[in-house]
C-alpha cells in the first residue's frame, strides 16, 4: 500500500519536462497558435544573431569619419556642407552604400554591426535579469506559501513594499547613485523585479499545498525540501515559464529606457544606448533612432506572442 501511494505521488509530482508525451502535447497546442510560432522563430533568429552575428559583420567599434552619417542602402539624405569661399551652405545628396546596409552613425560606425552586437547585450540583459528575478520570486513565493504564519506575513509585507515602490524611479535612483555598469544594472533589475512572480507563485503554491498528492507525500514522511522541490516547484514550472517569457521584454525595455535617459553603460552599446544617441540627431540622421527601436519593438512583440501562446497552451481551460 505504502509502495503504491509512493508510486502515485512520484508519478503525479513528476515534472512535465521529464515527460516526453506532455512536452509533445504542449508543443502541439503552442504550434496551433501562429503568432506564438512567429514569436519563437524570431527569438531563435535573435539568439542566432547574437551568437554568431558579430563574426559576420564589420567591427562595431571601428570609427571612420569619412563615412559618417550615411543613410541605409537604398535611401538618400540631404547633407548641408559649409562652403568657406561662397560663405554659404551647399546641399548635397548622400546615398547609402551596400558596405553599410543599415547606414552609419555620427562616428561612421556600421549600424548593422552595432545592432547585431546590441542584440547580444540586450538579450543577455533580458535573460540574466529575468533569471535572477524569477528564481528570487519563486523562492520567496514558495517559501511564503509553504511556511505560512508570521514568515508568510513578513515576506508578503516586504513584497507589498517592493511592489508599491515606483519601480522606474527606484531603478534610476540606484543606477545614478552607484554608477551605470551593465552588470550592476542587470543585478538591480533582477533584485527589484521579483515581486509579481512571488505573488503569483505564492497563490499557486497555496492551492497546491492542500492538494491530495502533497498531503500524501507529507503523510509518507517526505521532508520539507522534498515536498518543495519534488512536488510544489515542478507543478508551478509551467507558470514560471509563462511568467519568464512575459517578463523578459519588460526587462529589456527597462534597460533600454535607462540607457535612453542617459543612464546606460557607455561601454556596452545596447539598443537603448544607440537609440539615445539617435534621438539627438533626428533631423539629420533618422535611421540611428529608428533601427534599434524597430529591433526592440520586434523583440518585445515576439516574446509577447510566445508568452501568450504558452499561457494558452498550459491552461487546460482555454481552447485555442
Amino acid at each position: 500500500m505504502t509502495k503504491r501511494l509512493q508510486d502515485i505521488a512520484r508519478r503525479i509530482g513528476r515534472p512535465f519536462y521529464g515527460n516526453r508525451r506532455l512536452i509533445k502535447y504542449y508543443w502541439e497546442r503552442t504550434r496551433r497558435n501562429k503568432l506564438a510560432v512567429f514569436g519563437l522563430a524570431f527569438i531563435a533568429f535573435l539568439i542566432l544573431l547574437a551568437l554568431i552575428g558579430p563574426l559576420l559583420t564589420l567591427d562595431p567599434t571601428s570609427v571612420n569619419f569619412e563615412e559618417k552619417n550615411l543613410p541605409p542602402a537604398g535611401f538618400a539624405t540631404e547633407k548641408s556642407v559649409y562652403n568657406i569661399e561662397t560663405d554659404d551652405f551647399t546641399t548635397t545628396e548622400v546615398f547609402g552604400i551596400w558596405k553599410h546596409p543599415l547606414g552609419t552613425d555620427s562616428k561612421g560606425r556600421d549600424m548593422l554591426a552595432m545592432i547585431v552586437s546590441g542584440a547580444r547585450i540586450s538579450l543577455l540583459v533580458g535573460l540574466i535579469a529575468t533569471g535572477i528575478a524569477i528564481i528570487l520570486g519563486t523562492i520567496i513565493g514558495v517559501l511564503s506559501a509553504y511556511l505560512g504564519g508570521w514568515a508568510d506575513n513578513v515576506l508578503m509585507r516586504f513584497t507589498d513594499i517592493m511592489m508599491t515602490f515606483p519601480f522606474f524611479l527606484l531603478l534610476v535612483l540606484i543606477v545614478f547613485i552607484f554608477g551605470p555598469s551593465l552588470a550592476f544594472i542587470v543585478l538591480v533589475i533582477g533584485l527589484t523585479g521579483w515581486t509579481g512572480t512571488a505573488r503569483l507563485i505564492r497563490s499557486e503554491a497555496l492551492s497546491l499545498r492542500t492538494r491530495e498528492f502533497v498531503i500524501a507525500a507529507k503523510a509518507l514522511g517526505a521532508s520539507d525540501s522534498r515536498v518543495i522541490f519534488r512536488h510544489l516547484i515542478p507543478n508551478v514550472i509551467s507558470l514560471i515559464i509563462v511568467i519568464a517569457t512575459l517578463s523578459i521584454p519588460g526587462v529589456i525595455l527597462a534597460e533600454a529606457a535607462l540607457s535612453f535617459i542617459g543612464l546606460g553603460d557607455p561601454i556596452m552599446a545596447s539598443w537603448g544606448i544607440i537609440l539615445e544617441a539617435g534621438q539627438h540627431s533626428l533631423d539629420t540622421s533618422w535611421w540611428i533612432a529608428v533601427e534599434p527601436g524597430i529591433m526592440l519593438f520586434l523583440t518585445v512583440l515576439a516574446f509577447n506572442f510566445l508568452g501568450d501562446g504558452l499561457r494558452d497552451a498550459f491552461d487546460p481551460k482555454s481552447n485555442v
Binding site: R157, I177, Q279, L282, A289, L296, V300
Partner: protein, 325 residues
Amino acid sequence: MKKSWLRDYIIKRLFYSVIIAWGILTITFVLVRAGPTSPADKYLANIAASGQDVSQVIASVEARYGVDKPILEQYADYMVNLFHGNWGWSFSTSMPVTELIKSHWIYSFQLILLSSLFAAILGILIGIYSAVKQYTKTDYIATFLSFIGISIPNFWLGVMLILVFSVKLGLFKTYYDTTLPLFSLANLHALILPIITLGTGMLAGYVRYTRSAMLDNLRKGFVTTARAKGLPERTVIGKHVFRNALLPLVTIIMFDLGSIVFGGAYLTEIVFGIPGLGQISFNAIFANDYPVVIAVTLIGTLLVLLVNLVTDITYTYLDPRIRYD
C-alpha cells in the same frame, strides 16, 4: 450597519498603507543619503578653478544643508520636519520642495488624465466591438494591433512621432509652454503627441482586457436568458454583458493610473519636455537634489496606495457580493 465591516477594513488598510509608505520613505532616504554623492559636488569644478580650499567649501555646503550630521540624526530631523509639513529645501532650484511640487504637479496630472481618458474610452469601445464580432476580420485586426500597441516601447514611439510629425511634416510643435493657460489651444495641441505616446500602451491593454472580459460574460446563462426574453441586442450587450465585464476593467484602469505615474508618464515627460513631476524628479536625481527625490517618491507611493484602496472600495459598490476580511 451593513457596511460597518468596510469601515474596519478601510482603517486596517490605511494602517498598512502608512507602514508601507514609511518603509519606502526609509529605503529611499537611506539610498540617497548613503550614496557617495554630496550636494557640494556641483560646486567642486568651480571651486577647484578659483583656487579655494575644497574641503572647507564642502564642509560649509554640507553644514548648510544639514548633511554633515550622522545619518540617524538626519533621518530623525527629516521625519520630524515632515510631520510639521516641511518637506525640506530643494538644493538645485533654491526653493522649498512643497513650492516646487505645487507648481509642477498639475502638468503631470493633465497629461495622465487626458491619456487615460483617451485610452479608456477608445480601448473599451474597440474591445466591446471586437468581442461582439469575435472571429471576424475586424476582431483579428483589433487583436493584432493591440499586440503591437502593448509591445511598442513608449519612449521610442514618442521619438518616432516627433520624427514623423514634427521633424518631417512639421505639424506639431513639441514643446509645452508653461506661460500659457493649461487648457489653452496651443498646449492641447502640443499634448496630442504625448497623449498618443503614453496612451497607446494603455489603449492596447484595455482593448485586450475589455475583449476577454466581454467574452467571458457573453457565454454565461443570463445572456441567453436575456436574448430569449427578446431583449434587443443593444440592451443585452450594453446592460447585461458590459456591466458585468466592468469589474475587472475597473481594476486594470485604476491599477494603471497608479503605475503609469512613474513609468510611462515619467519617460513621456522627458521625451516631450513637459515640466511635470517626472521631469523635476529626473532633474533632481541628476542634480543630487535629495529632498526633491524623496518627496516625489513619497508622493508617487502615496498615490499608488490611495488608488489601490479606492479600487478595492469601488469594488464593493460595483459588486455588493464582495467582502474583505
